[in-house]
Symmetry: C2
Subunit: 327 residues, 2 copies
């Protein structure tokens, strides 16, 4: 019989979790963050079982990885190159296997090795469903990327392909595809990986910073595309009070993504892509494309009410796919 | 029909919650904390419905108050006099009334007026049960109170009475009392208030700092008694590797607490008291008693294996009352 956390008991559980934490934190409930001469960025994200993750399609290491990656993504896409720490709050049913908990933390550690940071504290308690509440901390660097920094004339840049995570989810749950097409094994593999082990855009941020045309240039709008490509562009329009035009022929598609236009809905609204969506001065956008192979100019910003248009002036409506209709 | 958060929808819900947040945070997912020349203390606590709170006994404002107070308590009892900010993660069933959510935040705001801080960010998502994940931030001040700072010869000080919250819970749930006694109306009222609207020990901390015999004296052990008086004293013994002796005649009892010794179990193990339990050099302890009327010397620290004894050398075992056996 596998050992459950009820078998272990609360005190021993907390003791076992300490080995995943920064070693000087172990004697107190509270964690310390050293004084900084830089501002700190903070992000809180909740992952709830059967809403944000499901054991039917992801194992504990996948879920641990994802819980760190999605939090890191928000900080990175706000401009933080140095993720410093995480607190982890866990709600777990008493019959949860210890092995599951251990693998969750192993997955978190693997992600922290890539994106930075360490666990400095947290809380663990019983509940009927699994829930992971993570607060992530990073240094604030220049440029600080805001949704509200776009200006007419900017190019809109996506740092990577979209729709893969949504396709991965569909493949893992045997959901009907937008149309019947034959998918290449390598696309299938990339899609499943994008869903189970998303990558936060740390390399894209480094390329963005390395491609600044001159060091005084600091204005850049940015956000991650966790809620979908279209929602991210719309968010920039609303916060910056301007209009976006997307180029139909320049959608950030995986080279093996189906040509059928029915598949655009997953690309535009699928979500959980964790790419960086940027609005940049044109020369910066062009310089970034030279540094970052996966980056694409997908449109431009102009004056107007905050909506997103195709280049034929047709408005593109954000489609709420059932997966993300939480309420 | 009351309006539910499903009626409102996710985007409008997040818009409505923004009025409870610091005004410069509203355009981005991430929050900023300004650069500090002081270290930051961070604490994460989870409150799960039917484990940490129940609508049968507390209304939304009570629950909001408590969620802030219990987080502030950990920071204050680590020495932070200046609570600066909170992030709030909420899991809510879609049929939750908007009015409930609004009152939750009103309760939080009332507590922040007393204990300090403001909401700088968070997350909100759907789930089958209500859950509140709070991360609290405070400046680290000197002395930093650690569980591990006690030394033989110290006096153990409780900054207030214990057992009231446990009694309040029993009264609110019509639970059988430890023995049949007549309780005074004022004790009943204090007990219910202690359970519904706990006070974090900010006044006690100020008194502690104001009573330092000299400004170079910085060693003090401390923790809050959220897990019960006895567990707190035991925690200090274990982290400091020493022994505690409690004086049977000096238990920190409300003047109207029943004399019957059966009631000691709630006083020792009831939990959710949110008083400060300190281990202090003797002259500091005596000075504190002069500044803080509710403070009591309840025992002393000596060399020995980390257990808690009565003054007749009998060992006092921590009793896990069913309420806190989460696993």
């Amino acid at each position: 019989m596998p050992i459950t956390i009820r078998d272990i008991g609360e005190i021993e559980l907390i003791n076992r979790l300490k080995r995943f934490m920064r070693s000087d934190q172990i004697n107190d409930d509270v964690a310390e963050i050293k004084a900084l001469n830089k501002n700190l960025l903070v992000n809180t994200d909740l992952l709830v079982e059967e809403i944000h993750f499901s054991e039917k399609i992801s194992n504990a290491q996948d879920i641990g990885w994802k819980s760190i990656a999605v939090n890191a993504s928000d900080l990175i896409c706000s401009g933080s190159e140095n993720i410093t720490s995480f607190t982890v709050g866990l709600v777990l049913p008493p019959n949860t296997h210890w092995e599951w908990v251990e693998n969750l933390y192993i997955g978190m550690h693997k992600a922290m090795k890539v994106f930075g940071g360490e666990i400095i504290g947290g809380d663990c308690t019983a509940g009927d469903i699994k829930m992971i509440a993570i607060t992530a901390f990073g240094e604030m660097n220049q440029p600080r990327l805001h949704r509200g920094n776009a200006l007419p004339g900017d190019y809109i840049v996506s740092t990577g392909f979209h729709g893969l995570s949504r396709l991965g989810l569909a493949l893992l749950t045997s959901e009907k595809l937008p149309s019947e097409v034959k998918l290449s094994p390598s696309l299938i593999s990339r899609a499943i990986k994008a869903h189970k082990r998303p990558q936060a855009a740390i390399e894209a941020l480094r390329a963005l910073n390395a491609s600044r045309p001159d060091s005084t240039m600091l204005r850049a709008a940015g956000t991650d595309s966790s809620d979908g490509l279209l929602q991210s562009v719309k968010g920039i329009c609303e916060s910056s009070n301007c209009q976006a035009v997307l180029l139909k022929d320049a959608l950030p598609k995986d080279p093996e993504w189906p040509k059928d236009l029915n598949w655009n809905k997953w690309l535009l609204n699928g979500g959980e892509d964790y790419q960086m969506i940027l609005s940049l001065p044109q020369n910066w956008a062009k310089a970034l494309l030279k540094k970052l192979k996966s980056a694409r100019i997908i449109g431009f910003i102009k004056k107007g009410r905050p909506v997103v248009l195709w280049d034929n002036s047709e408005e593109i409506k954000v489609e709420k796919l059932s997966l993300f209709q939480h309420f």
